[in-house]
Symmetry: none
Subunit: 308 residues, 2 copies
């Protein structure tokens, strides 16, 4: 009996210890999913205004010309949310208007971005009419130059920075901002869905830009879309007269800025030697609002107090 | 000695059994994050500290039908970056294709979002042709239903969640996700730039939806755009047959899902009683790629290895 009890005890001891050990080991394992790191507020953001890790980075100055239209708030909202994912970024928004509008002011104030809000009205003679095709006159020229003026007044050549001209309707992967961050003079990369092609962009041999993939006005000195390059802040400040020429022939606007700053051979190819597309020249359709008039005649138009 | 051994045995038995029981109970607990349920590589998880909070929030299941086109990667990139700012979100992307494409697979794998990647091909008879105006047939019907099927197979009515149908070309403020997060049955809000109006949306009196601001087919039971409502996961799972009707008359697709689920009086108005626009029915222009053919004839077409 003594012996039997001891045997039972021993068998139970071995079995239960094994079970317990197994259970404890399982408890030590991580769950079958990665855990979320931290409770906090609803909307994640990098620690604003200096988003995570951005303290020692060159600041990217994103220059966005914008003008009043039905989908302006949608476009600026979408772009501002993309920029929210990029550390060390300063958004310079320049309205084509006689004064700053409250729509843009309010949007910027709520954006949690570091920003500067400017405005300058395009002279009527230079202005694209609603009925004009959008390629007739370049848009945003005075506005981009106003941003250059602000940078020259408010920054010094010793400030490390990069300037990028980002229209409010294009699509930007956050990867393109990583690519442009370290720009010595002028960095370049391809742009998707532009110039009637799948993409336009520099052709690179031995790490140098040797020519360009483009189908349109191939004789342009810099056949590069506005979204396809970034310029060192220092370079811009050291050339205080460099700016966009409002009278440049169509397609030559980018060249009018870059010509005095850099040669083709000096361009710095990014995005894996210009083989990756991280920015697209998307265009948003003009919204059709013809029902609005009909409802207005019936006294049932959209509430003008509701901001779209 | 016999007595002592028995006592030791009994004490050990009680202690070890208690420990084993506790360990087994712990193993039965759910993880503190959304589980990976599905077999295969379909599901991805939170990976980065991007998102904060969210552990105890209802999960927002964002259902996005998508189809191959030149600007697909741009659109999905832009939307994925918006979703990256929203905690406790699970993106269900459903391709209209015979199999998952590598373009979408790669984009999702790099998105840092929690996602499920599905596909189902729209039957040829139901499919919109490239030459058709985009309003001729509803797009994404089979794909949204496939997502509903997946949710019914992989989630239980006890899971707290909200389902939102977000096409890949609209513009979403991150605020709309905060609004829909707590949805009892079906929550609603206005949508900008849709139906020929500045906005379409519910009209609210005394906290209840009493009618709708719309100019088109005003007799629709739920004259609400796809982007203008979210449905409780529990409600959808408790009505296992509720889905979009592929044969619904134009404009009645939303009503075909909502009709069996809710009455107009039960709709939960969000966005300050439906007075704030946080989502816009933007459309991206079809890119013009006519130069591509010309260059191809000269043997200078865009490099097909470069993904746009």
């Amino acid at each position: 009996m003594r012996l039997k009890l001891r045997n039972v005890f021993l068998v139970y001891f071995v079995v239960s210890s094994t079970g317990l050990l197994y259970a404890l080991l399982q408890l030590g394992q991580q769950c079958g999913c990665t855990r979320q790191i931290n409770p906090g507020n609803n909307i994640h953001r990098w620690e604003t205004p200096h988003r995570r890790g951005g303290e020692n980075m060159p600041v990217i100055y994103v220059v966005t010309p914008t003008h009043t239209r039905p989908h302006q708030r949608a476009e600026l909202t979408r772009l501002s949310q993309t920029l929210l994912l990029v550390p060390a970024l300063h958004w310079i928004v320049v309205e084509d208007s006689a004064q700053r509008t409250s729509l843009v002011s309010d949007l910027l104030a709520q954006s949690e971005l570091q920003y500067t809000h400017l405005h300058v009205q395009t002279p009527p003679a230079m202005k694209l009419k609603d009925s004009d095709p959008n390629w007739l006159k370049p848009r945003g020229v005075e506005q981009r130059n106003e941003a250059l003026h602000w940078l020259r007044e408010n920054r010094s050549p010793k400030d490390h920075g990069v300037v990028y001209f980002a229209d409010d309707d294009n699509t930007y992967s956050i990867k393109i901002f990583q690519e442009m961050r370290n720009t010595h003079k002028v960095s370049v990369w391809p742009v998707g869905l532009v110039g009637g092609l799948r993409y336009e962009g520099p052709l690179v041999t031995g790490g140098k830009v040797v020519s360009f993939h483009t189908a349109w006005k191939t004789h342009r000195p810099f056949p590069i879309d506005m979204a396809g390059f970034a310029v060192s802040l220092t370079l811009l400040l050291n050339h205080p007269k460099a700016q966009f020429d409002p009278n440049a022939e169509r397609g030559f606007l980018e060249s009018s800025l870059l010509g005095p700053l850099v040669t083709v051979g000096e361009l710095e190819p990014k995005a894996d030697n210009c083989t990756k597309i991280w920015v697209w020249h998307t265009r948003t359709e003009k919204p059709k609002l013809k029902q609005e008039e009909l409802l207005e005649k019936q006294g049932k138009g959209s509430d003008p107090k509701i901001l779209v």
